[in-house]
Symmetry: C2
């Protein structure tokens, strides 16, 4: 445990004097807010790593701890709902450290007037997701605010997992030569939310990929030497890769044609002028795996439903440390950079 707090909290050096939507986008503005405002105030070793979970000593056990608020709109969307998302979000953040997810908390902020039937449906969906992931929702809280003081329902989950003794998976652990693997197609969740909002349904082919990834991670770590795991949620695959490149001080090369994107997601992205690389996923992971065991890990992934379409998309390189380079179809290359703010707010 670390209890040395810096009690000074300088205001962020930014042109903003108030919070804007981009501060919650998972992009550069979010990173700036965390780095300039929260980190100086709460400063401690676990937080400083800026992983999606903290790995900590609790007596004789080593645990992982994570939290996320879910403010997605609409509450129900093709392929899932806010409840399913809230459970899988916590489960996946734990799994990305190699931890075995055990327990979740669930705190509900409800706007007066929400139909009880909707809340019951969402609770059922959370129970189903928890059962699928093998975790228990062990404690919770319920707050209600006046009509107009929240947007229907916000759910915050926190999760506790048990970290195996030999685990050393972290965004700062990528090594030159590692193979970059994704577990399946990207951009599905973000485009499903967009289609639900806009009422454009592409013949019902846009679905959220919301899913628990702990079974997939378990299969991967048994099969080979996994160095980095991230679930590319807000900010998408592009942002996750940039964060890993920066944390590990390595370069990443990605073959554009190798990255799986479903046709309907491509089409939706073209309509919106968006890049699937920066669209949110809720049931996918990206991994950096030692070259020697990459094939074994890929084979193991394909035996698990959430990894059936797993594939290699690139390499960790010693050139351009901290940068992600996309090799395009036509033989060119372009640098991938973290967007200032994600174009779709309230995606999770």
């Amino acid at each position: 445990m670390e209890t040395s707090f810096a009690l000074s909290c300088p205001l962020p050096i930014t042109k903003h004097k108030t919070i804007v939507l981009g501060h919650g986008s998972g992009g550069r503005l979010t990173a700036q807010l965390v780095r300039d405002l929260f980190l100086p105030a709460f400063d401690n070793a676990a937080l400083r790593k800026l992983d999606d979970q903290a790995v900590l000593d609790a007596g004789s056990a080593r645990i992982a701890l994570t939290t996320d608020s879910f403010v997605v709109t609409p509450l129900f969307f093709p392929g899932g709902d806010i409840g399913h998302l809230a459970v899988n979000g916590a489960v996946n953040d734990l799994a990305m450290s190699g931890a075995r997810p055990l327990y979740l908390t669930a705190a509900f902020i409800i706007e007066e007037g929400l139909p009880l039937e909707d809340l019951a449906r969402i609770a059922q969906s959370m129970a189903l997701a928890a059962a699928e992931a093998g975790v228990a929702i062990v404690t919770g809280d319920t707050k209600v605010v006046n009509h107009g003081c929240a947007d229907k329902l916000f759910i915050t989950t926190a999760g506790v997992g048990l970290v195996p003794e030999d685990a050393s998976i972290s965004a700062s652990n990528a090594r030159v030569g590692d193979v970059v693997i994704v577990s399946g197609s990207i951009g599905d969740h973000g485009m499903a939310i967009w289609s639900a909002r806009e009422g454009i349904d592409f013949d019902g082919r846009l679905h959220s990929d919301t899913a628990a990834l702990n079974a997939l991670v378990d299969a991967m770590t048994r099969a080979g030497d996994v160095h980095v795991l991230r679930d590319p949620t807000r900010g998408g695959l592009g942002t996750s890769l940039c964060e890993i490149a920066a944390s590990s001080s390595i370069g990443i090369e990605v073959e554009a044609t190798a990255v799986p994107v479903r046709d309907e997601v491509k089409a939706a992205c073209e309509i919106l002028g968006m890049d699937p690389f920066f669209v949110a996923n809720e049931g996918k992971l990206v991994a950096m795996v030692a070259e020697s065991s990459a094939d074994a890990v890929l084979q193991a992934m394909r035996t698990i439903p959430q990894g059936r379409a797993a594939c290699s998309i690139g390499r960790v390189v010693s050139q351009h440390p901290g940068m992600v380079v996309l090799k395009t179809e036509v033989g060119g290359s372009r640098i991938i950079d973290v967007p200032f703010a994600e174009p779709l707010p309230r995606i999770c």
Copy 2:
């Protein structure tokens, strides 16, 4: 770990078809919502206890886990702010199981337009509260919603603590003969919030009691045999006593004149027609302590700032199990019952 989920989730048998403010009050409507909707969906042994925290095995360690959302309005009030409250709320829920609080998570749901200066002030306040309690805020999340979709700022904290091997403190553990102890005056927090909202300041004498109670609990458990601990937040002392009487299947007798209530809190309650017994506290606890060690526990409490005004207010009795009886000034007695809903919404 418990993973047997009941996947059926019957709708609550209630006249309400939608969520009303009372569902978040901590009173009978909240209990009904938890019992009829969340419990059947998430059903597991830890949740079924309905304590303010779950006590769980994590590998070789025994941990306590808790969560609370904070939606208090205004964000800043006499004696504290939402950040101080959010840290102490998690710390105290852990301490009430006898656990040593270690780590907190903090998830922020922010309304677009919140001044960054306010957020920085709140983060500083959280850091200060965490330092005072000796815990670290190790991971977090930031979401931003459009203007009008939240009320400035909601904070959800979760906390993890380490439970000593010999701890058996629970709301279900009160025993006949136990002495009922409160750590100080009641009703201060609720009346401070009310005064801040209404602009009635009683010469600035109404202050929230927001404080961490883990040092107090530590002193108490070292000094004697503590059976039950609760921090009477939403719903106040009255609701906590009723919950303990029900959980332990014992009766509780309280001497009205022994319960400390500050004059200005009494006056504010009279103006509002409210009973201080049901007004929220954020830095007080109620305990059931074995008669043989009650004096030692009281003495130990008075050495700690948060317990300086600790006193005995009643007894656990075998009569009227499940019921709390208040012996009034004039020699009469009345039954204390959980209110349907707390009269002051968004108190924490």
